[in-house]
Structures are given as C-alpha cells and as structure tokens.
Amino acid sequence: MNLSLVSEYAGYILQGAGLTIVMAVGSIILGCILGTLLGLMRVSASKPLSFISGAYLQVFRGTPMLLQIMFIFFAIPQIYNMATGNFFNWRPEIAGVIALGMNSGAYIAEIIRSGIQGVDIGQTEAARALGLTHHKTMQLVILPQALRRVIPPLCNEFIVLLKDTSLVSGIGAKELMYRSRSMGVTTYDFVSFLVGAAIVYFCLTFILTQASAWIERRLAVSD
C-alpha cells in the first residue's frame, strides 16, 4: 500500500469524487420529485393513480439497480431506434442519474407514503371539520408533520444513493469508483486506490449523516 501514489493522482481521483457528488445530487433531486409525486399518487383516492404508482414501485424494487442502469443506457437508445429509425446515445453520467433517480423515486415514494399515513387521522379530520379543502389540509397540516417523520429514512436513502452512484462506473461514467479501479489496474496497487476511494465515500456519507442529525434537531425544537 502506497498512499503517496494516491496523493500523486489525487487530482484525478478527486475529479471523480466531484462527478460522484454531482450525480448523487442530480439523482437525489430527481428521486425526490418523482418520489413525492408517486407517494402522493399512492395515497390518493384515485384508484388508477394509486395503481400506476404501485406498479412502478414493484418494477423498480423488483429488479436490480445495475440492470436498470444498463437498460436505460443501452436498451432505451435501441428502443428509440426501433420506434423512430433515428439514433441517439446517452452520456453514461446522464443515463446513470436518470436510472438512479427513477430507482430511488420508488423508495422515496414509500417513505413519503408512510410519512403521510403515519400522521394521525384526527389531524385530517380536524382540518376538514374546519372547512379546509383536501389540498390545503395536505399542504398546511399533513405534509409539514409528515416531513419531520421522513427526514431520517430520507437521509438513509440519500446515503444509499450516494454509494450506488458507484454502479454507474459499470457503464463507463468516470466517477470516483471508475477512476480508483482504473488507477488500481494501471499501477497494480488496488489497495491504495480502493482505500482512498473508501475514505472519500465515507467522508461524504459522514457529512450527510451529520446534516440529517442537525436538521432533525432543528425540526424537533418546534415539534
């Protein structure tokens, strides 16, 4: 193990870490938007909406993440070609973010659903009895309370997502994992570069954990 070798290539590796962070942030944003939408669909009174959301969940939870990444990267351009006769290719980073976002959307939807359903039914009844519409009840009474409950599981999901960006190396995105492995291959010193990558991943998730704990404390004050 030779950490001076790692420091020599630190710039190269940290660039990869930068891409890892960008992909994680992108897929978290996409996942949150999709997840909130799907979660609200899941608890809505509309049967078709609830069904669509449920089916989405089953598909994305029931197949491997790596398969989903590869499907979006390799298969979607093929399907597009079959349907239109034209060609297009994703950059692996883009395909990766879409796949990760769509996948975590399924998990975040479940987090949102349980957050909403965890709020006492009496809250809805009190708000509706005062004449608030369904929409305003959700917006002003239920969601603010659900938010407090979903922070810990949501943070957990973000940590999983951050680490799962490493799977996108499988389709050639030059992020942290990809670069560490390729440096390992080049220098025959896997130990140094994998330990280096592990340290970076650990630091990133550690920051996320601390941020989550801080938000939880902040919200607890007014609870």
């Binding site: 809250q123 009190a126 002003l140 007014s222």
Partner: protein
Amino acid sequence: MIKVTNLHKYFGNHHVLKGIDLEVEKGTVVCIIGPSGSGKSTLLRCINLLETPTEGHVLIDGVDITDPKQDINELRTEVGMVFQRFNLFPHMTVLDNITLAPIQVRGMAVKDAQELAHTLLKRVGLSDKANAYPKQLSGGQQQRVAIARALAMRPKLFLFDEPTSALDPELVGEVLDVMKSMAQEGTTMVVVTHEMGFAREVADRVVFMDDGAILEDKPPEILFTKPENSRTKSFLDRVL
C-alpha cells in the same frame, strides 16, 4: 337548525345507525348519552359528513347536506367540531391553530384573525398561551384551545364528541365551564358525553341511544328521574 331523518349508517356489514330521527332547534343544547358502541359518535360525525350516511337525510337550516351537489367544505365552516382527542395541530402555535381556518378558509386578514384569536383565548382563559405549542399544554388547556379554534369560524352550531373523555378528572371542570358559558350565550350545541352532571344541568334535551337507535329523547329532568325504557333505566343505574 338540524333535522335528521331516517339516518342509516353501515360500516361494511355492521349496521351502526338504524334509522335515526332527530331535531335540534336553534339555541338549544342536546346531549347524547348511551353505552359505548351505541352509535353516538357516528351520528355526530354524520352531521358534518366526517362519516357519509348510507341512507337518510341531514338538513342544516333547511339545506340537505347529504345531497352530493352540496359543497361539503362550505357546510363544514358552519359546523364547529370538538374532538375527544383535541386534534390540535402539533406543529403550530396555539395562535396559529386558531387563525389557520379563518385565514385560509374565510380569507380573513392575518391581523384581524390574530386579534380574534386573542379575544377567544381570553374567553377560554388562556390569554398567556398564544405562543405555546400544544404539547406544552395540559389536556384541559388543549381542549379549551380546540374550542377556541372552533369558535374562530363563528359556526352556526357546535358538535362535541366526548370532549372530556380523554381528560384527567381534575381537568374536566375547566372544559365544561367553557361549554356552559357557550350554552348560556345561546349557542346551538350537540354534545356526546358521559358527563351526566353536565347533561342534567345544561342540556335542554337528553337523547339516549343504544344499539344504533334513539330510545328516548326528553328534557333532562324527566329522562334522569323517570326513564321509560328499561335499557335507559339500566344504563342510568350503572352510570349515576
């Protein structure tokens, strides 16, 4: 004010209300008593459509609220409800709990709503708690805030669903006092309660329900002293 005719409610196969007829005049207090599971709360919840009646009609000021075309939210602004478990919004201060509906539903200016809230808090004896959060209050205080919250909408009538059943015995009085003062001001109230003392003292009529039906509907001095139905008798023997 309220006219309930032939009201039926099923939960699945369970027949909870079996043809209820009830009238409540403006400015009167009607207490509904009876064993648990008799359908008292369900009847009350049908009056503001927290439960949808399976059959029958509920008229409020001549408007049939069971008519699907009737705007439910509009109706509910006219019917205040106080719950057994208070159901205050835990993420809001007392003041925000009270001003929420006047601002959001009535479109009242924030300043006016807050002024109103302070007046109502004074009335329920909690002037100093405007900025407290519900969990910082005792059960009795929370229920008084819940009453102030309902009062803030200035509804035509009030429904109380066992408002003191979740309270420690020493806190029951403060809530009943607020309700008594409301009754004295001529507020129309329907109260599901186990507080027989309150029913006897404040109610204009007491309704005894058992097994989804109204068995007796009389002024308290008659119902409590000369109950006709044997089930009313045995119920009163147990609780008095």
